[in-house]
Symmetry: C2
Subunit: 414 residues, 2 copies
């Protein structure tokens, strides 16, 4: 099917989806969960084809692992859908309603966005995740996954469509772009007539390409060059524990710490312990002259290091003269994702919270908490690092917009 | 000054603006209001140069009128700034704060967007309006007005900068692009490093150009192909009164009605009265066959008529068989701005409110009310017709974003 036609059908479907009752939406999602499990064999077979193709193309083991589905992983995906059923549906809430002096009642009501375009990379679980969150909020979705996972994605989407039909709901609620060419992706990014919002999920290259090419409004999700700043009054053990967690608990994630900033007055006390801990965990440190002086294994940092999201056992480190310098350095180099201060100083804690220009700013906690589940949203469609519409972890509410509903009795403007 | 450098300085300024207290911001705005009045002569002289240039270039009278400043209009602009002072500043509000099971306190705080880029056409009052709203919410602003108003805008911005300096606040809070070439405007639309949001204000051509060219996130503001639907149970006098107001009270505005939709069962009763009223007011009607049958002056409508924002004494009209057909026709042709139903039927009123996909949906009231002042926001930076971030009239809150602030005591993720 042509993209243009998909867009038209998805838009038509979205007009019906916004009318669906909450129980009907939940019943559909439960059918999807059931049918995913019932069709495990079919999904695994399709996934096998993707894996074979990946091996032929010498895909690295780590990517093959992300692509690979197993019986357990499919159970996990189905369980994820059931968790979305349990979440509260934000659609329909009237957030405010006020009477104006002229008698008009003006209310603000939460409604679906319409048609959401998702552009993502290889993991097939995103296909089901994205559908279930979009559907729960009454949106149609056009999915453009990676070509690496095309067999798996096709199988998953066919099961979803079948599940919707079983419940007399339009299968046009979800489309998968089978043509994974760049040209078609570019067209999708400019399909303003039918797509209301684009959400790219993936590496920095993918996100940049969408931001550069899209004319459809984009919610930019997250590359994270996250910082931990150790203030002069920090509890040293807490600082080491937070850095260890933020850098090493999981490497390839956007909320991992990539850069350390240390106040000069605590450097002598905290740096040896930090460097030992990092070395013991096989983590390379790229530091400025002061940091280098503490350990010969510290690699001299170049300017680019402070702007790099390593997603690896590497961390940059810099010593600063004051909290003001720390804040300036962080605001200049961060991607606006998550930053933390470790401090015992009340004023510095408040200053850091106020002046750091990022989606999530922490006092005395690991940046690894920036996550929809950890924030208590029950689900996450991505982490926004831009400032429009949604900032930080995005749950169901980020997939809705509002409209004004106005009750009158014949008012005309004087 | 180069655009790039302006961007850098505006970004730096925005870091300071977000720290300004509410009283300091208000004092600055009051100084601006005072200095605008004190410098009336200087502003009028600059404006005279723009007007002379306009006349040389054979600018139409209506545009010359929009460009023209008078002593009274400058008083009005200053009064507008004072009204912004009186508004509540949304910055700093913590919208929610919850404790998670692990003891983390997670709060959502309203903060400035950062640097806002405004791209607009000839009216010089927008220069002061946009500055005062952006400044009130702690944002820096880069203004790109039309070349037609360059002398007036330069005078106004120099007065604003001077007013800020008098209060020891950075004059980099506002920049005016003196280079009004298309090339520089295009560069501004792609200055992602420094500009957080673009707000275009002007005609359909300007808005389209920004949406097509920008890589910076855009808040699309409003062209309005607004509809009034007259349901079969409508009060006929109310219908005529609402159409008269929505179409004719002011012609060149985005919330004016451009298209009528009439249920077939009321056509016989309402159309003669409507056509008489429109004819008496010199308004051309472009209608389908049914409408044409009522009056020989009705011009046959072509398909494009139903999608046209006339901004003139012209209205399109169509008769439909049912409310479902009306909703489908409106959703297919509207620009998602404002639509109204006139009805006595409870179920139809609810159906229209639920199913029309526009920023503002009215029952028994004129579409002319879609406006920040009429909605009680006290000010308006524009009317958003897109679904991300803000939809409908945008007041101060639309010029803010949120960030998560997290208070911990050493939490690390298990």
């Amino acid at each position: 099917m042509e993209l243009e036609q998909m867009g038209r059908l998805a838009k038509e479907a979205s007009r019906n989806l916004m009318k669906l009752s909450k129980p009907v939406k939940n019943t559909c999602l439960l059918t999807v969960a059931e049918n995913l499990i019932d069709n495990t064999e079919m999904i695994l077979e399709a996934n096998k084809k993707d894996l074979e193709k990946g091996r032929e193309n010498h895909m690295p083991e780590s990517l093959l692992d992300r692509l690979c589905l197993t019986k357990e992983r499919i159970l996990g995906i189905a369980e994820g859908v059931r968790q979305v059923v349990a979440l509260e549906d934000p659609v329909g809430e009237v957030i405010s309603m006020k009477e104006r002096p002229n008698g008009l009642m003006i209310g603000k009501k939460r409604v679906p966005l319409g048609v959401i375009g998702m552009i993502y990379e290889s993991r097939p679980n995103v296909t089901v995740d994205a559908f279930s969150l979009c559907f729960k909020t009454g949106n149609a979705v056009i999915l453009r996954g990676g070509s690496d996972a095309i067999y798996s994605n096709t199988a998953l989407v066919s099961i979803i469509k079948k599940s919707l039909e079983e419940n007399q709901v339009t299968p046009d609620a979800v489309f998968l772009l089978e043509d994974t060419s760049r040209e078609t992706a570019s067209k999708m990014m400019q399909l303003n007539e039918y797509i209301d919002v684009l959400i790219p999920r993936g590496g920095a290259g993918l996100i940049r390409s969408v931001v550069q090419n899209a004319t459809v409004p984009v919610i930019e999700t997250g590359t994270g060059n996250c910082h931990v700043y150790i203030d002069q009054t920090a509890d040293v053990d807490m600082a080491v524990s937070i850095v260890k967690n933020a850098k090493l608990q999981r490497l390839g994630v956007c909320n991992a710490c990539e850069s350390l900033v240390i106040h000069k007055d605590i450097a002598k006390e905290v740096l040896p312990k930090l460097l030992t801990m990092l070395k013991e965990n096989g983590c390379e440190v790229r530091g400025d002259k002061t940091v280098q002086a503490y350990d010969e294994t510290v690699v001299p940092a170049v300017t680019e290091d402070y702007g790099t999201e390593y997603l690896d056992k590497i961390i940059s480190a810099k010593v600063v003269d004051s909290i003001e310098d720390a804040i300036e350095h962080i605001n200049a180099n961060s991607t606006g994702h998550s930053e933390a201060i470790v401090t015992k100083d009340y004023e510095h804690a408040q200053k850091f919270l106020n002046e750091i220009d990022s989606a999530a700013v922490y006092v005395n906690a690991s940046t690894r908490y920036t996550d929809g589940f950890e924030f208590g949203f029950g689900a996450e469609i991505g982490i926004s690092t831009q400032k429009l519409h949604a900032r930080g972890p995005m749950g169901l509410e980020a997939l809705t917009t509002t409209k004004y509903i106005i009750y009158g009795n014949g008012q005309v403007r004087p």
